[in-house]
């Protein structure tokens, strides 16, 4: 590690930090949702994440920032074990969701992914109708009547702020939507399963400013119900839309704290350089 260990917030300190949030004026103590301790990840011999320690608070938005290749996606993809798809990927340490160790062999990844939804960088709707896209998850997990399913689909689309735009053409193909709409559809699809955590890996990087704004509004709304972890390369987005920010560099977590503090008074010089664009 290239910064003194003392500047890294210990889990306890982070727990203290969780008291109160400046920007939205709320002062509710947040509970920890995801607790990470001594977490390391590899792709084959390549050490992608080194000794990460972080507590992601429940029902808050946590932004992950850092230069390309620093391991943000890797971290997110371990939280819902998406990296199981990569044959060379492995990890050590503890990664707990609501107290349950996710790296445990006994962890049911299917059940885990039901509780931890993910939205990808490029919108990836299935080549089916809008309705079938949203209904995909509930149909996997629940037995219900047609009416109940219709309701889930409508509620999810409403939450994703897409309902008004698509309610008249639920049966048309999802690929006929615009990029921004497709991304919101993917969010609706993730919500429909009923997750408690949403992982978003650069959800806006393929979108225009208008769709980006729509998704940021949406996040602000979802914030009350979901724990959101978002990766972004857009500093303004991170400072605008998140409650907490984590800066990563070369596989290490350099700084983590309330967004306001990270962006106005970063403790680390590297963070300072990165957010002001003087990096390299």
């Amino acid at each position: 590690m290239n910064i003194p260990a003392t500047t890294l917030p210990s889990p306890a300190e982070q727990g203290l930090n969780l008291q109160g949030i400046g920007s939205s004026g709320e002062h509710v103590a947040a509970q920890p949702a995801i607790e990470v301790e001594g977490f390391n990840a590899w792709y084959g011999d390549y050490h992608a994440l080194t000794n990460m320690n972080i507590v992601i608070p429940e029902k808050r938005i946590t932004a992950f920032i850092g230069p390309s290749g620093c391991g943000k996606s890797t971290f997110l993809r371990w939280i819902n074990r998406m990296n199981d798809l990569v044959p060379s990927a492995r990890a050590t340490g503890t990664l707990k969701l609501h107290g349950q160790d996710l790296l445990d062999k006994a962890t049911d990844v299917v059940e885990l992914r039901r509780h931890v939804g993910m939205v990808f960088q490029k919108p990836n709707p299935f080549p089916k109708s809008i309705y079938d896209n949203v209904a995909f998850g509930p149909r996997l997990h629940l037995r219900m009547s047609r009416g109940e399913l219709n309701q889930i689909v409508e509620q999810s689309l409403r939450r994703a702020a897409l309902w008004e735009e698509v309610k008249d053409r639920l049966k048309s193909p999802a690929l006929s939507l615009s990029g921004g709409q497709q991304q919101r559809l993917c969010i609706a699809r993730a919500i429909a399963v009923g997750p408690s955590v949403l992982l978003m890996d650069e959800p806006c990087s393929a979108l225009d400013p208008r769709s980006t704004a729509a998704i940021e509004d949406l996040m602000a709304q979802l914030r009350n119900d979901y724990t959101i972890a978002i990766v972004t390369h857009n500093m303004q987005q991170a400072s605008r839309a998140s409650d907490y920010s984590a800066f990563m560099y070369q596989g290490e977590l350099i700084e983590f704290g309330q967004t306001e503090q990270v962006f106005t008074m970063p403790k680390s010089e590297q963070t300072q350089n990165y957010i002001t664009g003087r990096f390299g």
Binding site: N80, M82, D84, L85, P87, V110, E111, L112, R113, R114, G117, M118, F120, K122, N124, P125, F126, P127, K128, F136, G137, L140, H141, C186, R189, A190, V193
Partner: protein, 317 residues
């Protein structure tokens, strides 16, 4: 720039001459290919027109060329291809799914996976006669360990029932169809694998992230997206099965059959076999019947190919 270009006029013109010469060689080569195929088609059509009539389609084979027909062979081909399709498609698509969608992480399993994959490549290269011999030993004779085709150890019904089945199968429709299945299985597997590989990974990730199991991901997402490609590959494989003669020749032999099979164990003949039979006779008049048979066979295959092309074009966006 001008000066530069003028510096080496000879070298330049020489090089461009080569370029032009090559184009001429290419066109010649393509011309030769087209000419040969043209001659082939023309000769078959010229020879085949004589007997191309409803008699050909309705009659059984005959000792007189003008009366000879291909009807029992057509029905035989339909039967064996049905047996082949019913067995080869599930097996082939299943294997493709196993190889493409269930790649193991564990090292020994991964090695096993590689062995299966290499094995498929090898099976695709095995000559079809060898499959004929395999079918002969495994299906017709059941390894000569349990009874014999003429004295089966186990039967259902009698030879009068349409559902008659015996063990060993004997030189019947079932053995022929299963042997064809062995021939086309690698083709179906490889083309289905290609179709599955063409499905973008983002769809798989999307499905898994919603909490699908592997199989739910395959059934709900990957397979539907790959269906057009799988269908195209399967149709092409089936057209191969329709035209395949060597393995069937070993199973069924060239027999004089004037009836259509009544059950799965019944003797049969198939279109390519009948064509071979006619073509291998010394009399020229039978060659003409063979040409007519080829025209019928090619018409069927062209229809199959056209369907495959249409499917591909319809789903290609």
């Amino acid at each position: 720039m001008n000066a530069l270009m003028k510096n080496t006029p000879n070298a330049r013109s020489g090089r461009f001459f080569k370029d032009h010469l090559f184009v001429i060689v290419c066109l010649l080569a393509a011309g030769v290919c087209i000419a040969v195929l043209g001659v082939m088609l023309a000769s078959i059509i010229v020879q085949g027109m004589e007997h191309l009539d409803t008699q050909l389609l309705q009659n059984p084979p005959s000792r007189k060329p003008e009366k000879a027909g291909i009807y029992p062979a057509m029905i035989g081909t339909v039967y064996i291809c049905l047996v082949c399709a019913v067995t080869a498609i599930p097996l082939g698509v299943g294997t493709a799914i196993l190889l493409e969608e269930f790649k193991p992480r564990q090292r020994t399993l991964a090695r096993l996976h590689g062995v299966v994959q290499l094995n498929i490549t090898n099976l695709a290269g095995v000559p079809s006669v060898v499959y004929g011999i395999l079918g002969m030993t495994a299906f017709v004779e059941l390894f000569q360990v349990l009874g014999s085709p003429s004295d089966p150890i186990w039967t259902i019904g009698t030879t009068d029932n349409w559902y008659y089945i015996q063990l060993p199968f004997g030189r019947g429709v079932l053995a022929g169809g299963l042997t064809l299945m062995l021939v086309v299985l690698p083709i179906i597997i490889i083309s289905s694998q290609e179709a599955l590989r063409a499905v973008p990974n983002s769809l798989r990730q999307g499905a898994l992230a919603l909490g699908s199991t592997r199989w739910q991901m395959v059934w709900g997402t990957t397979l539907p997206a790959a269906i057009p490609g799988i269908m195209t590959g399967t149709i092409l494989a089936m057209s191969r099965a329709i035209g395949e003669a060597a393995p069937i020749l070993i199973i069924a032999g060239v027999v004089y059959i004037t009836f259509t099979p009544e059950h799965l164990m019944d003797d049969f003949t198939a279109m390519p076999l009948q064509i071979y039979d006619w073509a291998s006779r010394p009399q020229e008049s039978f060659h003409h019947v063979a040409a007519s048979g080829i025209l019928v066979l090619m018409a069927i295959l062209l229809t199959f190919n056209a369907v495959a092309v249409i499917i591909r074009q319809k789903f290609q966006r």
